[in-house]
Symmetry: C2
Subunit: 228 residues, 2 copies
DNA sequence: ACAAAAGTGTTAGTCCTACACCCATGT
DNA sequence: ACATGGGTGTAGGACTAACACTTTTGT
């Protein structure tokens, strides 16, 4: 019935951390220092330890490889990849996590961390180690859907942001332009999406924009749907 | 860095197979014959073999335990559970799959299969082995969302069905009643959701209903949203 | 004739889109 | 004054919910 020869089976927790930076959707990647795919870019992540929870492993690996604090992020797990030959080291089942964060500098922490960097999703596409290109694509599609139905877009923004900042997130992630007037109304009219802080921000030129912080709601009703 | 003591780590593929039967949402469960939780109900599933794809293992276990052919089902993988102590036999990471099928009798195939049966979700709730109650809840919530955005409801129905049958699926899975008139228009007005077969079905009493088959579309645009 | 289920018409409301227009600032 | 981005008003269309009403059968 159950076979016992599982010596080589391991679980890896991998992370797709997305941000909007320089007007582009960017992903946090590291450069591998070891076999296999040495020198190639890959998603941050690593093996789950004995007795360690998978989500905890994701947070730990993120910290070790990039210096970021994963406990502050909403990590969302999505579909695993476990094809028997996806890793030349043996059977490795990858459990991927998606998180979204504002454009912060990567703390160039200790040993491993020096190679972590933001890279535009378009640039790394088809260039990552393992099946990480596929995992990245699935994460991006998931993030796009999440913008439709949840308030996660605020996670791309700093603590205080303008409606224009938020619209920029949607435009960059979806790759389409939105009407600023209608978007503004839709966001401010949705209970719990954003709350005015009372502050304002002066643009280089133009009328000052009101500042907002993320509201308490997590789901968006009605949803903000993409054009099809 | 990576530790090597993974002797006990195994992957299990578990299945949540849902149907609508006797006006209730039902799930396919087996009765366990072995340690642990012997005699308790559980979701069908079992350990992935060396060199075996996880999805293939799900199909194989479904066939072994229930006699059903999983290749005919759209299996959809959702969030894994890998807490270190979720299985008394050691570290087992469960990869759950959701599938939806019409109300068919369970083939009482060979040895293991005799215990497989449909059970109403409400009746098995809080009574399953391992953390299968939790996995079931997540699967049901996922199925509910799928009805909103995809044409998956037709998978609950036999090859030919009436609009009333389809409405009954929504009502049972969502646990709310829908207006038959508006539902009928919404479904027949959505390109690719259902196609008329030309046939009719006579109810016990009342006007005959036109028969339909599933159309080619998989996503539902516009979606059919639940009341909030 | 009646009950029951299927299906059509209609109306009022909500939401979305497009775009004209006004607002507030730096240069 | 003018360019620029922020924001409001508004009209037309699409979609929805609610429900009166008609159709088609078995008894």
């Amino acid at each position: 019935m159950a076979d016992r020869d599982h010596a080589q089976l391991r679980i890896a927790a991998d992370l797709v951390i997305l941000t909007v930076r320089d007007g582009k959707l960017q992903v946090l990647v590291i450069t591998r220092r070891n076999f296999p795919f040495e020198g190639k870019r890959a998603l941050p992540g690593g093996f789950v330890r004995v007795g360690e929870d998978i989500g905890a492993a994701a947070v730990r690996e993120l910290s070790e490889e990039t210096g970021l604090d994963g406990t502050a992020l909403r990590l969302e797990q999505f579909a695993v990849h476990g094809e028997p030959d996806r890793d030349p080291r043996g059977r490795v089942v990858s459990v991927p996590y998606l998180a979204i964060m504002p454009d912060l500098p990567i703390p160039t922490a200790g040993s491993d961390a020096s190679t972590a960097a933001w890279m535009p999703v378009e640039e790394v596409r088809a260039g990552l180690a393992f099946d990480h290109d596929l995992i990245l694509d699935e994460a991006v599609e998931r993030a796009r859907r999440r913008l439709e139905l949840t308030t996660i877009a605020t996670a791309f923004c700093p603590a205080e942001f303008t409606i224009g900042d938020l619209r920029n997130v949607y435009e960059v992630v979806w790759g389409e332009t939105l009407d600023p007037r209608n978007f503004s109304r839709k966001v401010t009219g949705t209970e719990g999406f954003v709350e005015p802080t009372g502050g304002r921000r002066m643009p280089v030129t133009g009328r000052p924009a009101a500042l907002y912080r993320a509201g308490g709601a997590t789901t968006l009703n009605p949803p903000i749907l993409r054009q099809r």
